[in-house]
């Protein structure tokens, strides 16, 4: 019975992974490899998914709830620079040394997500470069998109001209 439940849980997680928009197009063997590093996770409102300076041990594919990415500054509340929601990815620093988070990520409401063990996935990417390439082709557009968004925010277009 317990084995049945565990098996159903594993199949459920596999299906959830396959449904993630971020992983669309990933083939079955690679999904299986990812599945070995994945787990279902929950965060209560106010809980931190990531903390600046801590090791980048995992990243998250959001299924429910919203998350604020923020930088804290002394003497004031943290500055939120982006919010993310279902279908989006929290955490990219797991990809590049020194594998440390450069901002905080805080749950704005109850969050359900798939957590990916970063060390596990890095090992698998090293061993299977096709998987590594599949990850890169998903994370690089994400990084470029965030870089462009950051550029727009730094330009402060509404402040000066808007």
């Amino acid at each position: 019975m317990t084995d049945d439940l565990a098996e159903r849980g594993r199949e459920g997680l596999k299906r959830i992974l396959a449904e993630q928009p971020f992983l669309a197009g990933l083939d079955a063997p690679h999904l299986e490899l990812l599945h070995g590093c994945a787990s279902n996770v929950r965060f209560e409102t106010g809980a931190f998914l990531l903390r600046e300076g801590e090791p980048a041990n995992a990243f998250y594919l959001l299924r429910e709830g919203r998350v604020a990415l923020e930088i804290h500054a002394p003497g004031g509340p943290p500055v939120v620079f982006q919010t993310l929601g279902p279908g989006e990815v929290v955490g990219v620093s797991w990809l590049v040394p020194p594998y440390r988070w450069s901002y905080d990520a805080r749950a704005l409401e109850p969050v359900r997500a798939v957590g990916l063990d970063a060390a596990c996935l890095r090992r698998k990417c090293d061993a299977d470069h096709h998987l590594g390439y599949a990850m890169m082709t998903r994370f690089v557009p994400l990084l470029v998109g965030r870089l462009q968004a950051t550029r727009m925010q730094i330009l402060d277009v509404y402040g000066h001209h808007g």
């Binding site: 990415l69 939120v80 982006q82 919010t83 277009v157 509404y158 402040g159 000066h160 001209h161 808007g162």
Partner: protein, 265 residues
């Protein structure tokens, strides 16, 4: 070319440096998207888009205190006089909205010229198939017309708001306005977009809409370039053979694209 006398009837504060002035009615019939040249006595004249009309036809303008003239205008109290020329320029293509999915994208003070559009589209006579407003501002304190955003939402429009950054007390979205675009918001073959905001924001918004399949001929932008005379004589706002004040400020994107590429102006 000679300003007619106008008078401020009502003045309300929108944000720390943005004010809305309602003028006494004078028979002016400006359409959404058009602008007036408002003259602050003894200071100067600037183009200001129409941000609404009162029930009895008084023109409403929302003004950001960003320079000597706009500061003088924004500071006018009820009863104060000013000079008015216009209305000038082209309006938003409201007639084309019938039966279509309309995406309105606004950045910062760019929501002001689009407010009359949203009022019409969400009003009783609104004939659009769906209406979505995607609005980006610098911070929560810079958001214009918060009560109207709720009203448009209550009337069935999709209203998504994001800010560039937020500190405490804001439970909305943070990020750029293009992040509000997503699949399912409009059907490309029957869509229409109206965009107003800083040019950088408009360029990125147009690119994101076109990536989602919206044709350039379905996208309208409102340009603002150094308008002085407002009648196409002085040439200050001339881009090639086009005068933004006379031929715009609202342009269809397939016509505006070469103009937006002019870096020297």
């Amino acid at each position: 070319m000679v300003p007619r006398p106008g008078r401020v009837r009502r003045r309300s504060r929108e944000t720390a440096n943005v004010w809305t002035l309602e003028l006494e009615p004078d028979g002016d019939g400006a359409e959404p998207g058009q602008f007036h040249m408002l003259y602050a006595m003894g200071v100067g004249e600037v183009p200001i888009s129409v941000s609404g009309t009162s029930r009895d036809g008084g023109m409403v303008h929302t003004i950001r205190d960003a320079g000597a003239v706009s500061r003088a205008l924004a500071g006018l109290r009820p009863g104060a006089g000013l000079g008015v020329r216009g209305p000038f320029g082209t309006g938003w293509p409201l007639a084309e909205a019938e039966g279509r999915d309309v995406v309105v994208m606004a950045g910062g003070i760019g929501l002001a010229p689009l407010r009359p559009v949203l009022r019409r589209l969400t009003g009783r006579g609104g004939k659009a198939r769906r209406v979505a407003l995607l609005y980006g501002a610098r911070s929560p304190a810079d958001l214009l017309y918060p009560r109207e955003l709720d009203r448009w939402r209550a009337r069935g429009a999709i209203v998504e708001v994001t800010v560039d950054h937020a500190v405490g007390g804001w439970d909305g979205k943070v990020g750029v306005v293009t992040a509000l675009l997503g699949p399912g918001l409009f059907e490309p073959s029957r869509s229409l977009a109206m965009i107003c905001g800083p040019e950088v924001m408009m360029r990125f918004s147009v690119a994101a809409l076109m990536d989602l399949g919206m044709p350039a001929a379905s996208i309208y932008v409102s340009l603002e370039r150094n308008m002085k005379c407002a009648v196409g004589h002085c040439g200050h706002c001339q881009l090639g053979g086009t005068f933004v004040c006379r031929d715009g400020p609202v342009f269809r994107y397939d016509r505006a694209a070469p103009l937006l590429g002019v870096r020297e102006l």
